[in-house]
Amino acid sequence: MVHGRERNVEDLHLSNLTKMFGEVPAVDDLTLTIPAGSFFALLGASGCGKTTTLRMVAGLEDPTSGRISIGENDITSLRAFQRPVNTVFQSYALFPHLDIFENVAFGLRRRGIKNVEPAVNAMLELVELAPMARRKPTQLSGGQQQRVAVARALINEPDVLLLDEPLGALDLKLRRQMQIELKRIQTEVGTTFVHVTHDQEEAMTMADTIAVMNAGRIEQLGDPASIYELPKTVFVANFLGQSNLFAGTRMSSDSNMIEVMSNGIKFLVPVQRNSATGDEIIVGIRPEKMTVLDLYDGEKIPVGNNSFEGTVVDVSYAGVSTQYLITLPWAQNITVFEQNVIVGDRSSVGDRVLVHWAPEHTFGLAGGETLLATTAQAMAAGA
């Protein structure tokens, strides 16, 4: 609370929100509640509708149908300048003819507030830019401009702060720093932050809740860890981190485990971690949950673990971990990350190896989807 005023923040509700561009729905019947005071990330590839959603909340785009409300207050028909919502634009959109002080004071002045100086100075203090007050935006670095954009929006004490790829224009190191900075500011002011990004790492670092969007719909919603550990769709499994997926068929199941047959190998999937309703099940496992063993170490595999044989085709040492690309007898390539905790004795290209993992890490997805199409999309978006 920058100005010490007691804030009564309320939830942001999107109900059946749809936006058509011609015949194509950019946002498709989206219903979502963003809890007050949370740091919420809309994550998705470009063109998934996340920015359109944000612009509709800001009032810069009119929804084709549906409603937007903050608490009980329906803001759907309000114009952008009438909404208690402010935006941090992708390329900051700072006013080049005004200095930093006037940029930050802009919203207050428009609302007819006379003595803006204490508030502006306090806000510049918060983003650590007080000495820059009389500079023009072009005289600031990218990171500083970014902070001005945040200050200019936050000073109005919006019910919701919208951030449109706010760190996209910054280099990696500065981005990390700003992620922490934004998180600090959010904790300090307690405003609801809705953050749009295509960068899954950025979303996971900052957000309390992530909504993964694809083709105008929300694929999965939850806190970063639960989405990562238990993806519910192939898209999420591939977009948020990496996954190894094997299409198979349910053989048998008890109250605990489902047995899935894929490419002639039996996999165990915990019943609670299966989102498939039918018998076509895609078995999924994250690369870092798997262990690589030499062929003759077969007896080291714990009983009940999922396992198969393969041949190492690529090894890349990445400091923290070693990444193996392993080709399986049915010509599928999988990725395995191994923590570099053991000195020496790393498998090398051409080695025949055993790969195994505990069934508790396995997840089951509804079958019938292509395993790779979404990966390609996600990779294209990440590039």
Binding site: A80, S91, F95, R110
Partner: protein, 296 residues
Amino acid sequence: MAAVLPSTKTTGVVVAQRKSRTGYFLLLPGMTWLAIFFAIPFVTLFLTSLQAPVEGQSGQYVPAFQISNYSDALLEYWPQFLRSFVYAGIATGFALLIAYPLAYFIAFKAGRWRALMLVLVIAPSFASFLLRTYAWKTILADEGFITSFFNFLNLLPDDRILNTGYAVVAGLTYNFLPFMILPLYAALEKIDPRLMEASNDLYASAFTTFRKVTWPLSLPGVVAGTLLTFIPAAGDYINAELLGSTQNRMIGNVIQTNFIEFRDYPTASALSFVLMAAILVLVFTYIRRAGTEDLV
């Protein structure tokens, strides 16, 4: 970096010097042109403006230092001076009023028609200036529909437009309109539409956004456009010649008649210099007031 590596610094200076010499080289054609066709005539004109007439021989003058040429010219022709600036000022004002919305539309709303509209703005220039002004004679003729229309509304004090100040101002406005539109368009087109969205997001209505964001950011275009319109309009004589009467003569007409008809070269030259000086003073005051040096 130069402080850490002195050798780099010296190399840098050499490169910079070579660069600046290349720069002067590029200036050469333009400078030569200006020297021959501007600087020399300028000096000649100035010397002419101080010449004294030869007694008994009209059109013959000898070098002198007759500063009274200036005061005489001003005393005799100050109404035409004043009229020139008033007409040019009004025409510039109208041009701005017409050009700004048009330029705004082309810059932000025209979409795929943008290129076509810009061509249409320039298209009239393909016909000669003189011809277009003659066309206005027809458009504003006493029997023409525009005059009839205004007469029907009883709006014309003299029952006509042609050969009045209205016609001259209309001609000036029309002829210099592209010089207003193009710089305005260039300035508006550079404005990032997201700035307007940001302003909208920060509680500014469409009108306030225009007042606080669009207009200030377009000021360089406004200044350039008004100067490019006002300066040639103030010195113009064709519009007053073709569309006005003897009551609407501008300083350009006076200079022209003094040169060509009266062969009073010193007076004509003196008037030219006064016009130049007056425009310079006006322009500098204007740029100061507009504060453009402070803009991006």
